[in-house]
């Protein structure tokens, strides 16, 4: 809103400034308001240093993920959104399968959006929290490198942990 009077003065650009983000994975393009896109520190740095052309290419992030990221940025760029609304909206964005969540973490990290990185990594932590360890392995694809004996030993360690005692 602060930029509105400035724009009127220029008269040549009456509408809000927008940026186009383009996923380099499936070439999908998204037109977003600049102040929304600038929540990404990576994009902000590009814009600030005049590296951003008309279309900002976003490598390694698919259109599907980019759409979610933009949804997050739009919600958080809205000054009238209450904290509760934002929490609800965030919960909706991260209510996804593990693969999408992992892509979202990578995207939030690449685009340097601190808040999104927090909610996505918290969501992954919450999913791990609610699963038995066998399911954690299966769902996250973590290889079990314990032999049954080793696993039993680790299990026992948590009930009776001794070190250096006879």
């Amino acid at each position: 809103m602060a930029s509105a009077p400035e724009n009127e003065k220029n008269a040549s650009a009456p509408e809000k400034k927008t940026l186009t983000l383009k996923s380099m994975i499936n070439n999908e393009e998204f037109v977003v308001d600049e102040h929304v896109a600038l929540q990404s520190v990576t994009i902000k740095n590009m814009v600030d240093s005049d590296c951003a052309g008309d279309v900002i290419p976003v490598p390694t992030i698919s259109g599907e993920i980019l759409a979610l990221v933009i949804e997050y940025c739009k919600n958080h760029a809205n000054p009238s959104a209450s904290e509760d609304d934002l929490k609800k909206a965030d919960a909706g964005i991260v209510a996804k399968d593990i693969y999408t969540l992992i892509d979202l973490v990578l995207a939030a990290n690449f685009l340097d959006i601190k808040g999104l990185l927090e909610v996505t990594s918290q969501k992954i932590a919450d999913s791990i929290k609610d699963l038995p360890h066998q399911d954690v392995r299966e769902i996250f694809g973590v290889e079990n490198d314990y032999t049954p004996e080793e696993e039993a030993a680790v299990r026992a360690e948590h009930d009776w942990a001794f070190e250096g005692f006879p």
Partner: protein, 451 residues
């Protein structure tokens, strides 16, 4: 060296040397029985010919399809192998991002994380994981309660106040399983020390052990310089101070005092107290250690210690006069129980040197031994009251700054595990724990550990 001997034995030509590498790495990594067939364990590497040649006793496996490539892969292979054996913590994420996720898993589930795989186990066993949790504000505080059951045995229990769950713990090492008058303190936020005390058979001890909330294990620390039991102890600037108490051989109370610095891993004497004492109450307030106890002529004595100039001096002010056990200091304020059941607290006011200010829950519980407040400890910025029946209340003392709000302070009190919840799983656990003799057991120490 494994590699050089095998190479000389084999007189391998340069082209085959790459495969030799692979075979060795594969053998070392997988610890394959040398009589087994290599193409089963390592078909992708096509190492049959090489492996057969360099590992004596290998049975020849007929797999005519597999031929060594004529293009040597050389150094690239070992590196590729190493990467594959170092699988990521969470597939799809670089390890730093995986760790950013894993440190957010609540402490109550850390036992499970260790069970997932060896890499997760190693991550949680190292200091890095918990230091990161601490610096990012993810560390959680649990209450540790040490009690003496009716049979005289020491047992201990951890309570997670967020999930309101009791946690299993490794047993107390046997030298402390029946000890009397031992000390208990926390250093570095996560190490619970037990020290000194009197073993029913061996008598007074110098022994020091500690439990790490990060690894869930007990360890030894250097012995104290003097044997002592029924002494006072405190922590100032992450150094452990002990003073006074009794020593079996001498049969009288001690004046000596000593300090343990975990960074130096060493005990050293500090100045003797001005009078010998068996302390029954102690607290650190404004950087000074206050101790009150019974002197050698059965009189009540009080002393204060200033660590920066290593001086003890007797103290007679209103603070020690109105001081009750248990007490605790939190955010520069000094609190003590007013009512035995901990339903009312008294606060020390320095400006008029008195304990005239009170915080009252207006919910008197009773005077039985079971309901007696055994400990006051700071927990997440609140004051935690632990009673002998293992009921726990939290008081948000930060919200009662003026006397008028303190008089109507009911809303500041919160019971996190109490009689109401005794009808739940906790009840059963506690009943099993202490049986019908719950009333006869009592709490000897309470501490809060972070991880």
């Amino acid at each position: 060296m494994h590699l050089s001997t095998t190479v000389t034995v084999a007189r391998a030509n340069t082209i085959e040397r790459g495969y030799c590498w692979k075979a060795i790495v594969a053998v070392k990594r997988l610890r394959v029985d040398t009589t087994a067939c290599f193409c089963r364990v390592d078909a992708g590497l096509k190492t049959v010919a090489g492996a057969k040649r360099f590992v004596p006793g290998t049975k020849l496996c007929l797999q005519p399809d597999i031929k060594p490539s004529i293009h040597p892969t050389r150094q690239k292979t070992p590196r590729g192998d190493r990467n594959r054996s170092q699988s990521p913590l969470l597939p799809g994420l670089p390890d730093d991002l995986a760790i950013a996720c894993l440190i957010r898993v609540p402490r109550v589930e850390h036992r499970k994380l260790r069970l997932v795989c060896k890499r997760w186990y190693r991550l949680l066993a190292g200091n890095f994981f918990y230091s990161l949790r601490k610096s990012l504000g993810n560390a959680e505080e649990w209450i540790y309660i040490m009690k003496r059951d009716r049979d005289g045995k020491i047992s201990w229990h951890a309570f997670d106040p967020i999930y309101q769950l009791w946690q299993p713990l490794p047993p107390i090492p046997k030298e402390y399983s029946e000890a009397l008058g031992f000390g208990c303190a926390v250093l570095s936020g996560c190490h619970l020390y037990l020290f000194g005390g009197k073993d029913p058979i061996k008598g007074s001890m110098r022994r020091v052990i500690f439990y790490s909330a990060r690894t869930n294990k007990w360890h030894r620390a250097p012995d104290m310089l003097r044997r002592r039991h029924f002494f006072g102890s405190c922590v100032i600037n992450n150094c452990l101070y002990v003073a006074g108490g009794e020593n079996e051989g001498v049969h009288r109370s001690l004046r000596s005092a000593e300090v343990y610095d975990p960074n130096k891993n060493r005990w050293s004497f500090i100045s003797d107290m001005s009078t010998a004492m068996v302390p029954f109450i102690g607290v650190v307030y404004e950087g000074k250690w206050f101790l009150k106890g019974i002197g050698s002529h059965r009189q009540v004595v009080s002393e204060v210690y200033q660590p920066e100039n290593d001086i003890w001096r007797p103290v007679y002010d209103g603070m020690v006069a109105g001081w009750r056990n248990p007490s605790a200091s939190l955010n520069g304020q000094l609190y003590a129980v007013e009512c035995k059941d901990g339903c009312k607290l008294r606060v020390y006011e320095e400006k008029n040197d008195s304990w005239s200010k009170h915080i009252d829950s207006k919910m008197h519980l009773g005077n039985s031994k079971a309901l007696e407040a055994a400990a006051l400890v700071p927990l997440n910025g609140k004051l935690c009251i632990i009673r002998n029946n293992m009921s726990i209340s939290l008081v948000d003392v930060s919200k009662c700054d003026d006397a008028s709000s303190a008089s109507t302070a009911e809303h500041l009190w919160e019971t996190i595990t109490g009689k109401g919840q005794f009808k739940t799983l906790v009840t059963n656990f506690l009943l099993n724990l202490a049986g019908r003799n719950r009333l006869k057991s009592h709490i000897v120490h309470c501490q809060v550990l972070q991880a």
